[in-house]
Symmetry: C3
Subunit: 156 residues, 3 copies
């Protein structure tokens, strides 16, 4: 990961990114999370690079390494949600974008995870801080590295 790790210190004095870039990132996340929530694990996996790493250290999960692992995990998840008849939504917001010298982006955002069982009540159950490393591939953005930190876990 070298100089493109999500942990590269941010400088508060960094200028804001241009509107075109900011709105691209907003649209990327709206579509990406929409694919997950719509139960399309294969299309979801395509929004990651081939060698992407998906980290959830705050949950003590081992990282998923590579698009195939991300896809397989997402397929299994979809099966569970379908079996349990649960609607799932991921909200992502409060996005901060830090361009890197190589043209890639570091983003920090907040995410809320929520679910509604058939006929049941809305449960917003997790607040997560998401650090992504986005790279441009074929005119769009893909996630090369995602690092999720669950609030309340006490781990960084």
């Amino acid at each position: 990961m070298s100089d493109s790790t999500p942990s590269t210190p941010r400088t508060e004095a960094d200028p804001f990114v241009p509107a075109e870039l900011y709105s691209q990132v907003q649209q990327f996340y709206a579509r990406q999370m929409g694919l997950l929530d719509d139960g399309r694990p294969d299309d979801w996996a395509e929004t990651f690079t081939e060698d992407a790493v998906f980290r959830e250290a705050s949950r003590l999960n081992e990282p998923l390494r590579g698009r195939v692992a991300i896809r397989d995990s997402s397929r299994a998840r979809k099966q569970r949600l379908d079996d349990d008849k649960i609607d799932f939504r991921h909200w992502l917001g409060m996005i901060d974008v830090r361009p890197q010298t190589d043209g890639s982006l570091h983003t920090r955002s907040y995410a809320l995870a929520m679910r509604v069982p058939r006929g049941g009540a809305l449960d917003i159950f997790a607040s997560v801080v998401c650090h992504d490393h986005l790279v441009r591939v074929d005119g769009t953005w893909k996630v090369a590295d995602r690092d999720l930190h669950h609030d309340g876990s006490g781990r960084d």
Copy 2:
């Protein structure tokens, strides 16, 4: 509705829309939902076209047809909230915009509905997927068709 129905399949490869358009849609929704939450049913109704259709099939509600019906429904709702001393907020986010060949827009977004009774606790009680058909009228956007799907309803 013909080719401009909200159910027109999206293509994931669709390019992102320009920042000017995206930020217009964001601003439209912030103001539109603000009017509803501020208890201004007549101004809220003006954000819909004269012949707008407002669908909530997932709640088994009949569609509201036309601005007058939307206004009357909103007036009645405001009266109930005032009587019960309830503050209501609608958050809308995760917006995806798909321009149509006729210059109109299909949008998909997530919405959260929440309320706070006087002196009571916040209750975020509904997660909704909103499909809108937006048309440009007199330099701004108006909703020609809104299709709400409540999570957990099990209906499309």
Copy 3:
């Protein structure tokens, strides 16, 4: 405050602001609230003008007057959260921006306040309407006046 108070009536017919401005405001809030949530009270205080006023009349709190008072309040708050091992998040969205004739901005936004104790459950406990007066200082925005209204308080 004169003509730049947050209570200056908005006109619904106001045009939308350009994307560059809108995305700057979005980025400002993502970073500002991130500083508060990251437990950086001194950096947080720097996002307010020297003579900023921070109002929470709906909670019957006296306004904080000046950056030093805002910083001291935030330092005390951080100490409490650290002692209690609580992760805190502020979401801000649904932003409406109204440029003033002097180049400053009035913004209205919705905010959600949430916390997660170590090993505990997510608690989204407050919905707040935020009226800010933003002024441009040294190429970025700072809050000159913040007026928070807590839903359910029954006070304006």
